[in-house]
């Protein structure tokens, strides 16, 4: 009994650790979307704000990226789903000895690193164009160097394998006798495919399409090589994240996470509803009626959560129109100002004490310019604490106010004595 409860506790702790590793970063990232601080962070919480959603909305690069991502996604779905379906049908008919080789061939693209797929697509179509004798600037050559065309092909090469896996699972339950019966009754092969196999595969085609679209939408490794001079959402994001980050990316992440949560809940609610109706049909469960909840929500926690979250989202969007964090921002700015003033005062006092002791010891212990740097003589940021640097630094937004925002070189002028005289901070 005792060891059993011990196992339970260990399991609980383990589940908490696992799920906080999995979901914690996403929660933190979502929160940073609402912090007014210019660097995505939660810990020095400044103001609750919606402004990053505005920044995101006005970002034309991201909108353009989404547009091309959707086009490429649709192309990839069309190509990879049809190739995956064909490959899975062939798999059921292929000569038994050849089957494992064939399976290895069609599963291999999943395992090939995306970088390799991207490079090989790029290289191959470049040479294929030359092989066909397409000169520079001709239509064929333009097509083979077109980022959208190459990306669709590059992504389809491995997404088709994912689609194939979905189809294989469904095909295992297909009764080939149905097709044979149709053929015996005089249907052509094409008719039999269209009227028998295709309707049977429809759920699998739907889920493979969703899978393919999402896989295409979030692909980076292959796309970054094949996209050439276009941009997709992922390449835009990668560029932004590498060059310097700001919370508008968190805002985008928050939107994507919200959509994912809604989609997952809607799907779960739909499935439970289906299962329930099935149970009612078979007489295993009774139709409960007369409750407070509408019928589609009874016995369906996912549906209830879905409706509640939708309500919260609507309220949030409603308040976002009116809410303004200006008052709070001014307060934060004032607090920061006070903090800076306090620091300056501290440093001035330190300097005063120091210069007094120096006056006693004589001037040649410290070099003339260095003595201005106050308490931190040698660090890289040494000179920036000098009061002149901050004197007219009215609206410092970043928490890293310590960085020298002016000056010509990296830390160029900050050690120069003149810097202090005329107070040239910005």
């Amino acid at each position: 009994m005792n060891s059993k409860s011990l196992i339970r506790i260990a399991l609980g702790v383990y589940l908490i650790i696992f799920f906080s590793y999995l979901l914690g970063p996403l929660v933190v990232m979502s929160l940073t979307a609402f912090n007014s601080s210019g660097f995505p962070s939660v810990s020095p919480w400044a103001c609750f704000t919606y402004e990053w959603f505005n920044v995101l909305w006005n970002d034309s690069a991201i909108r353009e990226g989404i547009f091309y991502s959707v086009i490429i996604g649709l192309g990839t779905v069309a190509l990879s789903v049809s190739m995956g379906l064909a490959a899975s049908i062939v798999l059921t008919q292929v000569w038994a000895k050849f089957r494992s080789t064939y399976y290895t061939l069609i599963i291999a693209p999943i395992l090939v690193p995306g970088v390799v797929l991207g490079i090989s697509t790029l290289v191959f179509w470049d040479r294929f164009g030359k092989f066909l004798g397409a000169g520079d600037g001709s239509m064929l050559s333009n097509l083979f160097h077109n980022g959208i065309f190459l990306t669709i092909l590059g992504q389809s090469s491995f997404i088709a394998s994912y689609a194939m896996l979905v189809f294989v699972a469904r095909l295992q339950r297909f009764d080939p006798g149905l097709t044979e019966a149709a053929l015996d009754l005089g249907a052509t092969h094409t008719q039999a495919f269209r009227k028998i196999l295709l309707p049977f595969m429809r759920p699998a085609i739907a889920s493979a399409s969703v899978l393919a679209f999402l896989a295409s939408f979030e692909n980076y490794n292959t796309t970054t090589f094949t996209i050439v001079d276009y941009k997709t959402l992922t390449t835009v994001l990668a560029q932004k994240v590498r060059l310097g980050i700001n919370p508008s990316i968190s805002a985008l992440a928050f939107i994507i996470i919200t959509l994912t949560v809604f989609a997952a809940l809607a799907f779960e609610a739909y499935r439970r509803n289906q299962a329930r109706q099935e149970a009612v049909k078979q007489g295993k469960a009774k139709v409960k009626s007369g409750g407070i909840l509408p019928s589609f929500m009874t016995g369906n926690p996912a549906a209830i959560v879905f409706v509640l979250l939708a309500f919260v989202a609507i309220v949030m969007i409603g308040t976002a129109q009116k809410y303004s964090p200006e008052q709070c921002k001014i307060q934060v700015r004032e607090a920061k100002q006070a903090e800076i003033q306090r620091r300056i005062k501290e440093l001035q006092e330190q300097r005063l004490i120091k210069s007094q002791s120096e006056a006693r010891q004589g001037p040649d212990i410290f070099g003339a310019p260095e003595e201005d740097t106050g308490g931190k003589p040698s660090g890289a940021f040494g000179g920036v604490f000098a009061p002149g640097n901050l004197s007219d630094d009215g609206d410092t937004q970043e928490p890293e106010a310590e960085k020298p925002s002016g000056g010509s070189g990296a830390f160029g002028g900050v050690f120069a004595p003149t810097n202090l005289d005329n107070g040239e901070g910005n």
Partner: protein, 309 residues
Amino acid sequence: MKKKMIFSEFFRNNGVVMGSLLMGLVGFWLIFLVILPQLSMLDYSFRFNLPPSEVGGPKDVYTLSNYQHLIYGSDKTHQTYNTVDLMVFVRTIIAAMAVTIFNIFLCYPLAYFLGQSKGSGFVRLLVVLLIIPYWINEILRAFALRIIFGDSGLLNEALMFLHLTKEPIDFIRQDIALYAGLGYAYILLMLFPMYNVIESLDRNQIEAARDMGASWPRIHRRIVIPHAKPGIVSGATMVFMLSAGALAAPQILGGPSSLWFTQLVYQWFFNSLNWHQGAAYAIVLLVSTIIIVLTVMRIFKVNMGDIGK
């Protein structure tokens, strides 16, 4: 002769229209999207990087120089080794293996728990929670970790608040963020194959073993793990290949001084504009990872057919 018979049978079974449509689609995929691109990349990697006017001319001959560059660097006499690139390569492979092993240990208990307690609402909730991060963009996931591991990130703030450290720890430079990010990025590809095989294990087998007095470690060693082996190996294969070939996580979370092998490939393509050299590096990555995966599969006696189930 035999081949012809197979084809004619195929067309008899599917009809001419459907048969050629199926053949055409599969053929286009395998030949034009998989086999020929790989072959042309292989060919490309054995050639000199020539200006466009000299391509196809007398200087356009096969060479090993692109591969030699990985081993010896730009040294023509082959006295010194290209330690920088070789170290990056070794580090990539070893780190990818470490990430894979870490993921196996982290996922196994959860996969066992989910697989063996079927049907309850709590488990369904957990599975839905698991799927959500799966659909968040790889770059956004790396970005999320960067917020946490950054210099003034949440983790450092928390450590300093608890007085565990005085100075912020540079997780990025020490590559802790990178390893955490790689483990994070592909953890679900380890979990789901494991979960699927453990779910198919008959619970009676475990009950029987317990009735006979077997201890928990023994039950796992003799019953659960042998049954789950195909799932574990297939998950491990995917995690290893994907983390060795990862590009986004090292670019976003990697320290400024340490590189991932894919980043070298990226640099050859976009910074040095030497596609031939980049293709050679990509081939090295592809071949070595495939050899490692096949060796591991041979050791654990798992077939290719188990992958992707």
